[in-house]
């Protein structure tokens, strides 16, 4: 399926979303409250069928946190990029997509560990690589006392 047609379908499925044609993939931005429902529509709709969650990437922007979900359909072989932003960065919370894709369990735990984004309804949200004495290293205001890397 070409990108224009996919964008049209997604537009009709998720009316509140902001849809952009990226260089390689269609990019869909939704509000953080709509993330789970948008993800569920993208996974279950017979025209999109995004059943493979490739990766989740979290980023610290100065004012809030961004999350990017790369999805692929194993049937149609098309890809989409689902984006959202948390409200603020002091206590960012987002709905977990563990119920939709099982791979999200580890991917979300990694983001919680390194960025401190909490996920609602996650079955087992604990630190993954680091213990609780660490801060959240991928945040931009993280101070590394041990091994200072200067830019």
């Amino acid at each position: 399926m070409d990108k224009e047609k996919l964008a049209e379908i997604v537009k009709s499925l998720i009316p509140g979303a902001e849809i952009k044609q990226g260089k390689n993939y269609v990019e869909v931005s939704v509000g953080n409250a709509d993330l789970f429902s948008a993800a569920m529509i993208l996974r279950d709709n017979p025209e999109t069928l995004f059943d493979f969650l490739i990766s989740i990437s979290g980023t610290d922007y100065a004012s809030d946190m961004g999350l990017v979900y790369h999805l692929e359909s194993t049937k149609f072989r098309h890809m989409i990029v689902l984006k959202t932003r948390t409200s603020g960065r002091d206590n960012p919370v987002i709905d977990s997509v563990c119920g939709l894709w099982k791979s999200a369990e580890f991917l979300e735990r990694e983001i919680y560990d390194l960025l401190g984004i909490k996920f609602n309804n996650h079955p087992d949200l604990r630190r993954l690589f680091l213990d609780s004495s660490w801060g959240f290293p991928l945040r931009k205001d993280y101070v590394d006392d041990i091994n200072i890397v200067s830019k």
Binding site: I54, W101, F106, L114, F129
Partner: protein, 374 residues
């Protein structure tokens, strides 16, 4: 008094927890598994990771793109060349650089040689996990030949850092083509030995067939890619679906099975070595003439934006996701490493099998621990 005395049969009443690793010969690195057992039946496997977490993603935020290449080597050290390629392709995609055919073909040959040597080491160590010491000697004997080829051209053996943004570090050695062809000729002859010594072995097959079954739905849901996913019928080969470098001009089969057990995860890797040799044979005589590198600016700055590059390493799909703010170092770089995602399925496929099967199943996922921890 008598009422209080219960007959205790060891292992039947209560679950107990044992700790496997982080120093354990068959976890191939510092992977710690906390295993809950009932008798010798595995009820739960909880991986504890992070023993060699180096924060590669954080380090990348303070270094330049050509420097990042050398860090990616240290993720999956057996697919080092393919990891390098992933970052190079992402940078070239962002800068919209046209890469000459010569570079694409050489990169593809190196990727496939890397894949073969990685699967050889898998075969060697997996055979040893299953009690076949000879496999280790056979596997490393043949892997040495590839490492020698790498050494002659690049100076390095494992972490060769041969790719750089815009091309290759240096041109191939004059002997390269001849040595690769000699190797293919040799390896086609000895690969049946691999099957004779391990694939057809009764002890080996009875320990692996029907063990650790992973269904197609679960493989997709857990995101298990690479040979482990393809053994369950999950068509996830990036080389086929989103061809990069020279994969669009070669003919090869995606190795797919439907059984999804430990044995077929093993078999998929053996068959992939044959496919890799087919790919190399199609390219080795047709390396086009041309420059081995495109001239890039001395300081590489990526335009503002987000770039996503998928490649197929020997363990599955590696994705490099770069968010650039226009500086010489990335604002954020994310590596979706195959082993990290594949590890998530371990608890699911080992449940209700014996503790001895845990070794067989975990080994068949071919985990490389630095790739999990990063």
């Amino acid at each position: 008094m008598e009422e209080n005395i219960k007959e205790i049969v060891v292992g039947e009443q209560e679950d107990y927890v044992i700790n496997m690793g982080p120093q354990h010969p068959s976890t191939h690195g510092v992977l710690r598994l906390v295993v809950t057992l009932k008798g010798e039946i595995v009820k739960n496997v909880e991986p504890h990771i992070g023993y060699i977490h180096r924060g590669i993603e954080k380090m990348c935020e303070s270094i330049t793109y050509p420097q990042i290449i050398h860090l990616t080597d240290r993720m999956d050290y057996l697919s080092a060349s393919i990891n390098n390629e992933s970052v190079c392709l992402a940078v070239e995609k962002a800068l919209e650089v046209d890469i000459p055919d010569r570079i694409k073909v050489i990169r593809t040959i190196f990727s496939e040689l890397t894949r073969i040597q990685s699967h050889q080491l898998f075969w060697a160590s997996y055979g040893m996990d299953m009690g076949g010491q000879t496999c280790f000697f056979y596997g490393l004997r043949d892997r040495e030949r590839i490492l020698d080829i790498f050494e002659e051209t690049t100076g390095g053996r494992m972490l060769i850092s041969y790719n750089c943004p815009g091309g290759l570090m240096y041109d191939i050695h004059p002997n390269f083509q001849k040595r690769v062809k000699d190797f293919i000729k040799y390896f086609r002859k000895v690969l049946p030995e691999y099957d004779a010594i391990l694939t057809g072995n009764v002890i080996f097959t009875s320990r692996t067939k029907g063990i650790g079954h992973l269904s197609l739905e679960d493989a997709i849901s857990y995101g298990v890619t690479g040979p482990s996913g393809r053994a369950s019928g999950f068509s996830c080969d990036v080389r086929k679906h989103e061809p990069y470098s020279a994969y669009d001009r070669v003919k090869f089969n995606e190795v797919l099975y439907t059984e999804g057990d430990t044995f077929h995860r093993y078999l998929a890797r053996i068959e992939e070595m044959r496919e890799s040799m087919n790919i190399i044979e199609q390219l080795i005589d047709n390396i086009p003439e041309g420059p081995y590198a495109v001239k890039m600016k001395p300081i590489i700055k990526l335009p503002e934006g987000e770039y996503f590059q998928r490649v197929e390493t020997s363990r599955g799909e590696l994705d490099t996701f770069v968010i650039s703010d226009g500086n010489k170092n990335p604002y954020r770089i994310k590596f979706r490493t195959p082993c990290f995602v594949n590890l998530g399925v371990l608890n699911h496929i080992t449940r209700d099998f014996k503790i001895a099967d845990l070794i067989a199943i975990a080994g068949s996922l071919d985990l490389v621990i630095p790739d999990i921890d990063r």
